[in-house]
Amino acid sequence: MDVIHGLIAGFQSIFHPDILFYCFIGVFVGTLVGVLPGIGPIGAMSILLPSTYGISPAASIIMLAGIYYGAMYGGSTTSILVNIPGEAASVVTCLDGYQMARQGRAGPALGISAMGSFIGGTFAIVALMFLSFPLADAAVKFGAPEFFSVMVLAMTLLTYLASGSTFNAILMVLVGLILGCVGMDPISGIPRFAFGSTTLLDGVGLVPVAMGLFGVSEVLMNIGAPQDRTVLNAKIKNLLPSRQDWKRSIGPIWRGSIMGFFLGILPGGGAVMSTFLSYTTEKKLSKDPEKFGKGAIEGVAGPETANNAAAGGSFVPMMALGIPPNAIMALLLAALIIHGVTPGPLLMSQHPEVFWGVIASMYVGNIMLVFLNLPLVGLWVKILKVPYRMLMPLILLCCLIGAYSTNNNAMDVVIMIVFGAVGYVLRRAGYELAPLILALILGPLMETNFRNSLTLSDGSFLIFLTRPISATLLVISALLLVSTGFSAYRKTKKRIVEETGGAGD
């Protein structure tokens, strides 16, 4: 079987000391940023991206991928012990995890979280292996109109699934697409929106923008906010869950794995949404729903499994189609392109060492993470006690180093700071930033495919509707937009009825 042979080749390629070292660095840094609030996996990946320029594509992606799924493990530690989520996908774990810790059950909470993460992560890797091939085979039949339509659907899904205002999410997508136009036009080579700047001729740069929007703006948001963190001082014991814990957790773990994996594939879905959905589902299915929020182990097992499964699922569209479903995958995509590897339908045939190397490394990385998060949990507890007044300058310094080392250009640092300020203003106004980053990455691809499609069709827009796959994707996008607009219309109508009804009383 091709899958088995590929997997064996993948394991053979990663069992070298240097590859294992980079895998370990990735999962270690991932756990660290997951534990520490203030810098998420995208910030860490941006900072370490320039360090990967001198190593092989497989090693660099293995390290960066390790940061992503490592952060899913690490986020639970601070949620359980401090009641502050290390990163967004661990918010839900605070609800029951911290309560378990207060009841002296921090050990089982951490244990089931690590085990569930391992099972969810492994499930996602297996599913990734088997799902990528048929998807890539289908994508080989895609032309410019189909790729354009897939990206339209991706952005529509992103705005549809936005947790805040859909309208604001659409604005963010448009701003991201406009930012993607800065630099040389991909077809004619004419400079656009560069205003004479040689730095802007290459575009605004994903790394400075991402670090500004996610890293610097996070620090600015935290300035002035109280940073009291009381780490529970109780001794952490019984890390291995009991039989009773397993009996209560096995159902949530399997459901979380499936739910998380498929949500991870969807643009805008991902780890955060999967945790909320898993928690809600387990509460509904539970015989004792009143125990949720008071230390129910199901409330930890399900969401923590789901977020790791979602992390694995998000690799599917990125590897098979070359379309990142979230900002983190967008950064991985950029890293692959920098190394001369184009993800997409031909990745598995042209660069099997990258694809199978990443898959094999995820198995190894998940095992490393169980050891990092269980026996070495004391190390993370010590790190949690570092005061924020020390962390804040370190986070900012890492951002500054990361932005500068992209091109050894101080202008990239200025761009990062500008976007840090922009990100701060947008977050205070209630805008989500993920749609902007995704649109920034997909924009140039989207435009190229759009223009090539029009050239193919001699200027006729009907090409998008006469090709069945493209038409189907666009119809789904239109239906999603209409349902969003209809829902907003109903809300407005209800409000007007209430206002006029109230005025008449």
Binding site: N168, L171, I190, G224, R389, A410, G420, R428, G430, E447
Partner: protein
């Protein structure tokens, strides 16, 4: 907060109009052979129209605008303007001085200000931490392959 939202919406309208006008100068081309300005022109137009619609619908509504604070972090509380200003100036100064003074000196000075802004009050620990962090990050990231500017320390032989 409402005035802030309105200002932001006006900014989007301005951005959309600017992008559309600039794109016209780039040239829209023809549908058979789209020019470099076509895609951004469409984007600019859509963003301006959407923002205008949002502004007009906000003005017509009596109640507090749900969308402005309905987002994940719409936060009406007062921002610590002084500390934010210090942070912003420090970061910009860091970017502008990095290549002139070099990584170690700029980082040391920047960290000292950031540690002070973050809450450390005594200067001896600030100086010690700033020195240690500058040195450790310099050697650590240099080992990982990052090339830092030596700045004025190139005169004492640093590369």
């Amino acid at each position: 907060m409402k005035r802030f939202q309105i200002c932001l919406t006006v900014v989007w309208i301005g951005l959309g109009l600017f992008v559309s006008a600039y794109s016209l100068r780039l040239g829209l081309g023809a549908l058979v052979r789209p020019g470099p300005g076509l895609f951004p022109f469409c984007l600019g137009l859509i963003i301006a129209l959407l923002a205008l619609y949002k502004l007009l619908s906000k003005q017509l509504r009596k109640d507090r605008d749900e969308e402005g604070t309905g987002g994940p972090e719409g936060s009406p509380q007062q921002a610590p303007v002084g500390r934010l200003a210090v942070l912003a100036i420090t970061l910009f100064a860091y970017a502008l001085l990095l290549e002139t003074l070099g990584y170690i000196i700029t980082t040391f000075l920047g960290l000292a200000v950031l540690l002070r802004t973050g809450g450390y009050e005594k200067w001896i620990p600030i100086v010690v931490y700033a020195l240690i962090i500058s040195a450790v990050t310099y050697f650590g990231f240099t080992y990982l392959g990052t090339m830092f500017p030596p700045g004025i320390l190139r005169h004492v032989g640093m590369h």
